[in-house]
Amino acid sequence: MKGDNLGEFEELVMLTCVLLKNEAYGIRIVEEIFNKMDRRVNLSAVHVTLYRLEDKGLVNSTMMGATSQRGGRRKRVFEVTSLGIRILRETKAKRENLWSLIPELNPQS
């Protein structure tokens, strides 16, 4: 299935999710991507990506933490599933494998 491979943006969003732990909801993810990666992304893009990842079973979401902010609305907090973690690792491993095969790109060797 096509969904076995992660897209670049998907990978980015998932990693940010893992990083943010309990704070991984839409607007925080956008902020974090801006802080860590210096990249502006649109909120709707993040949402749509997360819903797609949820369809694939790579993330889970729960509604939680109503505060007086946000008009009293709860946040949809996302959590990467164990399947998600595995796919992330595999992606990284495959990529590193590819890198190691190209000595020219590796300045230390």
């Binding site: 607007i27 909120l43 893009a45 949402h47 749509v48 946000r70 609305r73 949809r76």
Partner: protein, 870 residues
Amino acid sequence: MKDQSEPRPPKWAFRFLEWFCPRHLQEGILGDLLEQYELNRAAKNRLVSNWLFVYNSLRFFRYGILKRKTIGYRSNFLAMFKNYFLTSLRTLLKNKFYFFLNVLGLSIGIAACLLCYLHISYELSYDQYNTNADNTYRLITGDLKSGNGWVRVSAPMPPALKRNIPEIERFARFTNITRDPQVTVEYNRTIFSESKFFLTDPDFLEIYDVPLLRGQKSQVLADQNSVILSASAVKKYFGDEDPIGKTVRVDDQFNFQVSGVFEDIPFNAHFDFDFLISFENLERVLPGTSLTGNWGQFNYFAYLQLAAGSDLAVVQTKIQSTEINLGDNRNFDLSRIGIQPLSEIHFIDNRGNLKQAYNFKYIYIYGAIAVAILFISFINFVNLSIAGSTKRIKEVGVRKVVGAGRGQLILQFIAEAFLIAFFAVVVSLILSNYLLIPAVNELMNSRIVMDFSDPLMLAVLAAMLLLISLSSGSYIAYFIISSKPISALKGTHTAGGKGTIFKNILLGLQFCISTVLILSSLFIYQQLQFLGDKDLGMSKDQIVNVALSNNTAQESGEVLASRFGQISGVRDVAGSNFIPGGANWNQTVWWEGQEEPISMFLIGVDENFVKTVDMELLEGDMNQIISGQGTQYILNEAAVKRIGWESALGKPFSAQGQRNAKPVAGVVKDYNFRSLHHGIDPCVMVISSSRTHSQLAVKVDGQDVRQVLTQLEAAYNEVLPEMQFEYSFMDEGFAVLYEAETRTSKIVGALTGVAIVLAVLGLYALLTFAVQERTRELAIRKVLGIKLQQTLFLLSGNYVKLLIIANVVAIPVTWYMLDGWLNNFNYRVSLGAVTFIATIGLTFLLIYLIAGLKTMQSNRINPTQALRHE
């Protein structure tokens, strides 16, 4: 009170999001958006944050979000849609007559609109195919906008203007080879008369798109003795031979060598020509003309190509302020010279145009009628659907009970209307393409082709389709749906009810439109008849014009005239250059005591002409004129008035320079040498017995014109055995002047016919439904002893009332419209009461006829049959 700092983003964006966003996602998304908004509010001002909020929420309107909403609903929706079309098709096929009537009616309405659109876009396409269309202008003089301008100027003017005005990049003069309508062209013993033979400057090919099939643009007209021919002329003279380098002989005097071939000039150009030679030939082929002098001879078209982006007004001012010194301290007055964009030429009826200009008013007339027909067919459609809705009410009731929503029911009727409208569009396209467009082209003398890839045409069709299906569908739906399901299922509901008022309004409108159309077509016809019978100040009936199409023939003119005069039944014979509406020679005239140069129309005739066409001589003596020698001038009243003389007889006057002045020989009563749209212009008849007349006008006195014609031909063939006898009737020539009106009359008549047929069909169908619905009522009445007349009044009463109201509205409207149209003419009919009364009587008669037919039918039914079934 709310805290001032509490953020409040625009409500509508909020609502919009709530509308399209799937419910289970809303909370998370809205929360995030609001949090972002709060952050923004802290850092930025309110307007910016609001905008950002709107922008961010709109970004959620995307497939990834939307698709999460409709999945469950959509499949059902599609299935239902299919079902609507299927049931619609079934009901339509069940009532074939009604279906047929609707499709036919609508398709005629749509076709009328479609043709109107095609016609307008065809007329607007005139000259527009030119690459330089936007920068090409024509010099004209006189009243520039109103259609009273004269579109020709003198030969030295364009080059002088080009020298003085930098905006003028190129100029090209353009004119007929002779003052006569025709010349003869000969190649290898093939002789034809040609009317489309022109002189022009070589730059003409640069200004106007004339694609050359043979030869180079820059060279073909460089030589004075070169001629270029249209492809069809080449075919006519040379067949399959190679024409290049061959010599053609013109008027038995001049030889030209073929140097190029151009594609036939398209029909939507404001001129048409088959032969072109260089303008350098002017002095040679037209004696008495000059390329550099004769500033007052306004006889040549002149086209200018201005630099891209030039301003018309600026150039016009520059032209008018250009100083032209004619020597001996006289300046030529350019203050009445103007320029006219190429795109306007076809639409302003200036004098001297080569083709009849198109009057924009007709576009409004045709457009209005086309829309009226569409409207009538639309009304038929809606009324029939409502009348036929009794049968559908049960179906709708069942659907409602099962749980159909309001929107779904409306959709179903729209689908049904769409289906009918779609069939109608298809039928109208077929009708137009194979039947109507050829007919219209024949009638309007145009070359319309339907181009299925024209995006605008498709858009017009799609718009009509949507408009018809949406409006009629939702209206019908409104009616049927508003019935209560219970009464519908019980069968107690009858169509009508509150619909009656609206139905009546529509029907009344239909009657109103029909009446307006009938009256209009009758009055247009009357006006045309009137123009045909109008006293022109000269007689045009029983005058045969025999053409003298080349030099040889013209030299034999006098012999021929005397031969013709001997034939019994011929009253008078005169040589003339007069063609109805076509006084093409316009020149500055001179008279004693003249202060400003004035140009007048000149008509070359011989001394017998005044008598031949029965003009009334106000001053002067007929016998003296007939026996007079040399050139004589006869003015019309308008010319005398223009000059300002009390009496003209004997005063020195000249149309050929002061040196040739002669005492005025006579004054005739004003006669209409042009169409009756115009008043009468100053005009001078130049009488000369020289052999330069292009035709002989023969006044036939006897009853048997055919007999005389045979004898004329015999005499002609005796004198000129090698020539072809060509003749025309003068009254036919005048009829051509009213071609546009004749066409309009025909088209309005045809469209009126269509409208009436549609209205009658609609009324018939409505009555059919009414009778069906009231079968039992009528049967009971019959049992109780109703008379036939009473049934008739019962059935027609409502329609007669409507017709009366419709007439009250229609008559003033028609009066107003027709009065405006008739004021275009200098001579017009009055709007007679008889026609109005006759028309109204006719419409009443029609209604009673239809109602009578239905009455007879319903009366024939045996009451027991109608009452038995339950």
